[in-house]
């Protein structure tokens, strides 16, 4: 039995706020994972994955020396930390939604 590979299998992450902008950073566990994330995690795919959690744009930045990708999500925190009605008004767990994203094959072997 196989299950789809997720971003969480290749990277860990952290997210936070700057006003109504949320940044989601990913750090790949190894170079192969980083290269794969660079190929597959386009700003467009990430934007679609967040759906209506993000009302603005998604921009991607690369930090190859630490195998990190940084996604900047605008209008993503319901007005920003001081105004947001969300439980996660500071965007602290927004990264976990990206870790859930499924990647295109090949699939990994499951238990």
């Amino acid at each position: 039995m196989t299950q789809p590979i997720r971003v969480a299998d290749l990277a860990h992450g952290r997210s936070g706020d700057k006003g109504d902008t949320c940044n989601v950073g990913l750090v790949a566990y190894d170079e192969a994972g980083y290269q794969r994330l660079c190929r597959e995690l386009t700003a467009e795919r990430v934007r679609a994955h967040y759906g209506d959690l993000v009302l603005g744009t998604v921009t991607r930045y690369e930090m190859p020396g630490i195998r990190a990708l940084n996604f900047v999500l605008t209008r993503a925190l319901d007005g920003g930390g001081t105004m947001s009605l969300r439980s996660d008004h500071l965007g602290k767990v927004m990264y976990a939604w990206l870790l859930r994203m499924e990647l295109n094959g090949p699939e990994r072997s499951g238990a």
Binding site: H12, G19, N23, M63, G65, I66, V72, L85, R86
Partner: protein, 453 residues
């Protein structure tokens, strides 16, 4: 090569003061740098100052110094903090009072001001500073009468001046987090204030440590299960070399871990474009950043650089933006989700009958979708043991927000069965919105005053 050791003492207002006290006792640091201010903090502090002119700073700094100041003076560790918030002068006077109470003398406390422009807005607008909202392009006039504060994210010049004057404790208002670290470094190494590559590298080092335990295993998504001693997490220490690179480590004998994983995760925290990390003192470039483990709990950080600082400084303005009314109810099996939905419909109908109006509202089911909202499918487990319904609304007046409470109270007795977990009347939360804007740096001048105990 001689290094200078900077310890991160606080990451936010209300943070535990124990890690800083442990650090000054166990580590041989030169500076303890404490960041107490988040985006919203200045609004809250300004409100406190309006109620009582003796307040307006983060009072946790006094708990910190009560524990740490005697050791700092003994060991020659200087403390640099932005705990002054909206009222650095009052904060410094309280620090002097504390030193006297503890019988410490001599203690020189510097006050760095110049960030607070709330009384200068008209003059500055006459000089042609529009304070247009950077995000929305709106004119300041739309919120001018509701402003709570206006503070410029100022740089490290005042801190350098205070340290040159021999200060033991430097109390600032809204200086940037990064300035708390660049100030001691420029003072110690005598770097030129336009040595951009060095300052850019040092800004990366400051970013690595400024959030305290987030660099040493706190919130570590890359393997939180394996981080030892979270309860006694040690805060990070940067051993900085003259070229601006550093080794990141932590308090000896403390919990937590410093490795490439934990430091990497902090490096991508709350940054926008890593090639343009804007600070008041330098435009840093983290693109080429590298991290290398050189020993247990020791990570070498290098590869960042910098370019000239921006001509404008960011202003943190806040304005009153209404109130939040909130209701939280828990429902039990059987049919927990259906009950919660019926409870919500009950509340909405009661609010309609009370002619309730709001600017925005949210419904969350805690334990199910409170983090990712509509991205989470509806619960379909008939055996669901419980669910918590949370309703919150943003209203322009306190009276309107209070209706959420009064209209949800009948859910105790008159709504669907199986309700629990209802608390007492929650305090209404007043909202402060941020008004991000810019000011040319020529209009901002820091000044330093020295107090002595």
């Amino acid at each position: 090569m001689k290094t200078v050791k900077l310890g991160a003492g606080m990451a936010f207002w209300g943070d535990s003061v124990r890690p800083a006290i442990d650090m000054v006792e166990r580590a041989d640091i030169d500076y303890l740098c404490c960041d107490h201010l988040a985006e919203l903090t200045m609004s809250i502090l300004s409100k406190q100052q309006q109620k009582d002119p003796a307040f307006g700073y983060t009072r946790d700094v006094l708990d910190l110094l009560r524990g740490a100041l005697p050791t700092c003076l003994d060991k020659g560790i200087k403390v640099v903090t932005n705990a002054g918030g909206a009222n650095p002068r009052a904060c410094a006077e309280r620090v002097i009072g504390l030193a006297k109470e503890l019988g410490l003398s001599p203690v020189r406390v510097a006050v760095v001001t110049g960030d607070d422009i709330r009384d200068d807005i008209d003059r500055l607008m006459d000089l042609g500073v529009p304070f247009t909202n950077m995000d929305t392009g709106e004119d300041l006039a739309s919120v001018r009468d509701r402003l709570t504060h206006a503070s410029v994210y100022t740089g490290c010049e005042g801190i350098v001046e205070a340290l040159e004057a021999g200060a033991d404790v430097v109390v600032c208002g809204r200086v940037t987090d990064i300035a708390l670290y660049l100030g001691p470094l420029i003072h110690h190494f005598g770097w030129a204030p336009d040595d951009w590559p060095r300052l850019g590298m040092a800004a990366a080092v400051a970013h690595a440590v400024e959030c305290g335990g987030q660099a040493t295993g706190g919130l570590y998504a890359g393997g939180w299960q394996d981080v030892p001693g979270l309860e006694t997490l040690g805060y990070p220490i940067a051993e900085v070399s003259d070229d601006g690179t550093a080794v990141i480590t932590k308090t000896p004998g403390s919990g937590g871990r410093v490795d490439v994983g934990t430091v990497s995760e902090q490096m991508i925290y709350e940054i926008l474009d890593p090639g343009n990390y804007l600070t008041a003192d330098v435009t840093a470039d983290f693109t080429g950043l590298t991290l290398e483990e050189i020993g247990p709990d020791r990570v070498r950080i290098a590869g960042a650089t910098g370019r000239p600082r921006p001509d404008t400084l960011k202003v943190n303005m806040g304005y009153r933006a209404g109130f939040v009314g909130e209701a939280v109810f828990s429902y039990t099996w059987p049919d927990a989700y259906a009950k919660a939905q019926r409870g919500l419909a009950f509340l909405r109908e009661r609010l309609r009958r009370a002619q309730f109006s709001c600017e925005a509202e949210i419904v969350e089911y805690i334990g199910h979708n409170s983090m990712w909202g509509s991205r989470v499918p509806e619960p379909d487990d008939p055996e669901l043991m419980e669910i918590v319904m949370r309703y919150a609304a943003r209203c322009s007046t306190a009276a309107e927000a209070r209706k959420v409470f009064t209209e949800c109270v009948p859910l105790y007795n008159n709504g669907p069965a199986g309700v629990a977990g209802v608390g007492t009347r929650p305090p209404l939360k007043e909202l402060f919105a941020l008004w991000p804007c810019l000011i040319p740096r020529d209009h901002v001048r820091q000044s330093v005053q020295l107090l002595e105990a």
